[in-house]
């Protein structure tokens, strides 16, 4: 029995729809489908050992001759439909053609009857390289005299050459001018300035990237993959790359997947696996090893930020000047221009005069792509740290300066875009209270020193295209929602199911989810920028309303009432405003009858289909006439916010950091399922804890030195505070246009963690880190430098 009250599932922690199958080992991930194919081929890839080299020759004859090898692919093969694309952001999984531009780039690929044979074949491949100079440090990659990441010939061959006045490796730039910054700095009472760097890291989801591609008898392919965006990304890219494949010949299925965090937003393994399937006319499987996950699947983009702030005596910040450089890694063409990271420096505080020069440069390191937070954890690292410096100079506390300058609901930010939802003030106050920022830490004589810090964060949501949903009402009265959104573990299909049950006012057990198969589920773009709850959620609501509308009409016709006199709840039609049941939904579906021939009405076995299409309003261009200042009234969409506070211990002798207590708060909009939101908070905090103090790529001689899970140090249960010291709260500000006023939240959680820890370190030992991660070695160096300075 259910009534409206208990069929309102919004804000309730309903059990995840996939929990049972995951707890019992029944959930099928793409690799679990391998055993269905007895004739499976395996793909293995030979990768460049050099950061930058010209490919002089490749001899694959011995590999091809090895029994069990079916085909060998190299970049110069004439049947490869891409000549220039291995060097562009979306395609860099394919073998290089003229030149390798990072250590780990694919050079030769083999498909063989077994993994062992494929690996043996790779050992037989001979590649002759001519070494070229390389640059792996983004600061050295800037400027007109920098070592070029790619040779000019390659760029011309790739079609992207041309004069680059800002330096050979500059990929793009974004500039914004708001107000009069020079004048504002003149009027400022206090000015602070510092340079910050955030390092290179890998999302390190536990399931490695991979696909199985089944060759179809009509010449098409069925792709089972853990890549993101079955329609919007994978299918689209495959169709572009292989003109012989037309829309009906590509089917993409995303089964249960083991995390992504941004890493799988571009097709990395699918294009090569498809090529192998087309060549061999067989089913192939291509799975990256963990080492390949580090050396060939994308990292975040490291960010260098030079930031200057000017404030009045009362703490009002009136001027901001930033120079920001995104390191895009090894690629020639991409979407990088610094705009994504610099957004973090313009969405939290309301500063009337802003001067932003941001760039992207390439380096000879593994190509970069989104990593939870889209570069804002890297850029806001600068803002939050410098705010503490400013607060100290003004003799203000870190909470006060943030609250004073925080952007308010309804105000416009530096872009000229209106903020429609922000709950950051209460988030910040809660963390300050939670860790008792006003109570100083007790110190003792040991090497461990103690401190506390807080920080705030915001992250824009990019309007990334439409989402569609279908809602089936089956003739047994149950509901099925068809969507193509990614489910990387965040639980979004569970949240969407709650929305659908609430719309239908029906017991949630009667709502089923079918997801991510291009042959049966409608279009969606991809699970990026925390957009799924918002975009796909709105599409689901529209689809439900469409289906409900059809049911009302059918019920009205059946009982002689107007559609608007009917309401649907609990699988039944009622007269509006009463408890008078007129018909059970299941009874609207009539069995076939010889004398009516089912000429009208609903037929048993044929569900009612509601359609939902939701398109977020597009961004308005920030370039071209009228936008010379880089501003636009709609740069992004909505903003998510979070705050973080930590109490840490720092060992003065070793530089080691321990997190003793932490609190994270999230403005998630109205949360659909609080436990799912908590899970995102917990996971985000610990992921950020890792990249703030532990994990990062280390390079030596142009190569990543730690491409495995022991040297690339990720947080375990031992680095994580005990439960009683791990506090969190959801403090929403409803988003007017969000589904049930919800918005996405999984990214902003990450952002304030590093700066809050840095602030606590300063309180503990009086040094201000400017580089992230704050490894023990780097903190120890700061301590030594300080001692040396004091001695002078």
């Amino acid at each position: 029995m259910s009534d409206c009250e208990n069929t309102n599932y919004i804000g309730k922690s309903v059990q995840r729809v996939d929990a049972f199958e995951k707890a019992t080992g029944k959930a099928k991930y793409f690799e679990d489908y391998q055993i269905q194919y007895r004739d499976l081929l395996h793909v293995k890839v030979l990768r460049s050992p050099h950061a930058h080299a010209k490919i002089i020759s490749i001899d694959v004859s011995a590999a091809e001759a090895l029994p069990g090898v079916i085909t060998v692919v190299k970049g110069s093969d004439t049947d490869i439909p891409w000549s220039d694309l291995p060097y562009a952001s979306a395609y860099y999984g394919n073998p290089a053609r003229y030149e390798v531009i990072w250590a780990g780039q694919a050079v030769v690929a083999v498909a063989a009857e077994s993994i062992e044979i494929a690996e043996e074949a790779l050992e037989l491949v001979k590649v002759e390289y001519e070494m070229l100079p390389y640059v792996t440090d983004q600061r050295l990659a800037m400027g007109v005299d920098a070592i070029p990441v790619t040779s000019p010939e390659l760029e011309i061959a790739a079609g992207y050459g041309g004069p680059q006045p800002e330096g050979p490796n500059v990929m793009g730039s974004y500039k914004l001018r708001h107000g009069d910054v020079d004048k504002a700095f003149e009027e400022a009472d206090v000015i602070v300035e510092e340079e910050y760097q955030a390092g290179k890291k890998s999302t390190s989801q536990i399931e490695c990237n991979g696909s199985i591609v089944e060759y179809q008898q009509d010449g098409g392919v069925k792709i089972i993959t853990n890549g993101c965006g079955v329609h919007g990304v994978i299918k689209n890219h495959i169709l572009t790359m292989y003109p012989q494949l037309t829309s009906s010949k590509v089917r993409v299925i995303q089964p249960v997947t083991g995390g992504s965090f941004g890493n799988r937003l571009f097709p990395l393994v699918e294009p090569l696996a498809v090529l192998m399937a087309l060549r061999t006319k067989r089913t192939v499987s291509y799975v990256l090893t963990r080492k390949e996950m580090y050396t060939s699947s994308p990292s975040n983009w490291p960010v260098y930020t030079k930031l200057k702030l000017g404030a009045k005596k009362d703490g009002t910040i009136i001027a901001e000047k930033l120079e920001l450089v995104e390191d895009a890694g090894a690629q020639i063409r991409g979407y990088f221009d610094g705009r994504l990271s610099s957004s973090g420096l313009m969405c939290v505080y309301n500063i009337p005069n802003v001067h932003c020069d941001s760039y992207a440069v390439s380096t000879n390191t593994v190509p970069c792509a989104p990593y939870r937070g889209l570069g804002c954890a890297e850029s806001e690292w600068a803002m939050e740290n410098l705010l503490d410096v400013l607060a100290e100079k003004l003799d203000m506390d870190p909470l006060e300066i943030r609250l004073k300058n925080m952007i308010k609901n309804g105000e416009t930010n530096a872009y000229g875009e209106k903020v429609t939802s922000i709950g950051l003030g209460k988030c910040l106050k809660a963390v300050a209270d939670g860790i008792k920022i006003d109570e100083p830490c007790q110190q003792d004589d040991g090497p461990w020193k103690y401190g506390k810090g807080i920080a705030a964060a915001g992250k824009q949501n990019t309007p990334l295209g439409r989402a569609e949903a279908d809602c089936l009402v089956h003739s047994d009265g149950s509901i099925e929602i068809l969507v193509s959104c990614d489910e990387q573990g965040m639980g979004v299909q569970s949240a969407l199911r709650q929305m659908a049950a609430t719309e239908f006012k029906i017991d949630i057990a009667r709502v089923k989810m079918t997801r991510a198969d291009t042959a049966i589920t409608p279009f969606d773009n991809f699970g990026a920028s925390s957009r799924t709850t918002y975009t796909t959620g709105n599409a689901v609501i529209i689809a439900c309303q469409d289906a409900i509308d059809q049911l009302k009409e059918a019920a009205g016709r059946e009982v002689g009432l107007a559609k608007k006199q009917i309401t649907i709840k609990d699988g039944k039609a009622y007269i509006v405003g009463s408890n008078t049941e007129v018909i059970d939904i299941a009874d609207l579906f009539k069995p076939f009858d010889f004398f009516t021939q089912q000429t009208w009405g609903l037929l048993k076995g044929t569900p009612v289909r509601g359609r939902g299409v939701f398109c977020p309003a597009p961004a308005v261009p920030w370039f071209g006439p009228g936008h010379e200042d880089g501003r636009t009234p709609r740069m992004w969409n909505w903003y998510q916010f979070s705050a973080f506070g930590a109490e840490v211990a720092v060992n003065e002798e070793t530089g080691q950091i321990k997190i003793l207590k932490l609190m994270s708060t999230a403005d998630s909009g109205n949360p659909i399922n609080p436990k799912l939101v908590e899970g995102q908070i917990d996971g985000g905090v610990i992921m950020a804890l890792g990249f703030s103090i532990m994990d990062h790529h280390m390079y030596q001689d142009g190569k990543m030195m730690n491409p495995n899970m022991s040297d690339y140090r990720l947080p375990t249960t031992l680095e994580t505070p005990l439960q009683k010291n791990f506090m969190r709260a959801i403090l929403p500000d409803p988003l007017p246009d969000g589904p049930f006023n919800a918005k996405g939240m999984a990214e902003s959680i990450m952002i304030p963690v590093g700066p809050a820890i840095a602030s606590a370190i300063y309180q503990a030992i009086g040094v201000r880190p400017t580089e992230m991660p704050m490894t023990a070695e780097s903190i120890l160096k700061l301590i030594k430098d300080k001692e040396a300075n004091n001695a002078k």
């Binding site: 929990a19 077994s114 995390g259 899970g679 917990d682 947080p715 249960t717 791990f726």
Partner: protein
Amino acid sequence: MQNKSNFIKVDCEVNGKPVSLHVSPDQTVVDVLRNELGLTGTKKGCDDGNCGACTILLDGKAAKSCSMLIGQVRNKKITTIEGVSNGEILHPMQQAFIDTFAIQCGFCTPGMILSGIAILNENPDADEEEIREGLHGNLCRCTGYVKIVEAVEIARDRMNAGGAKNEI
């Protein structure tokens, strides 16, 4: 294609049933479980023995099945995630993972559940720090471990309060 002349015979028990394997000696336990026995609940997340996704129980103790050759399980009792529940009746550890939302992407879950069971097999009263110590070889990138640790504690309390006994 495969040369079977060097294959070895391995008798063991998998999820309560005797199994007689005829396999190449260089096969790892995880590959045999997944590819020969179709027990795909055991996951593979790395090739260096560091992620813990492949954790199984070997005579009741947690073991990383990617780091063992098949010959090492001769005459031993293996439990995989498929053998943890009793038909439709979930093990208290599985139920606790579901109840506490300790599962997100689920890729680490089978290994986490088995490590959790192994911890309580050894010490039914394990406290939070002991649980953390016991789970530290299992990486999770989604949950921050908070709800996972909570799940093991809840399973411990329920089992100690006389819930289904742990007999694995």
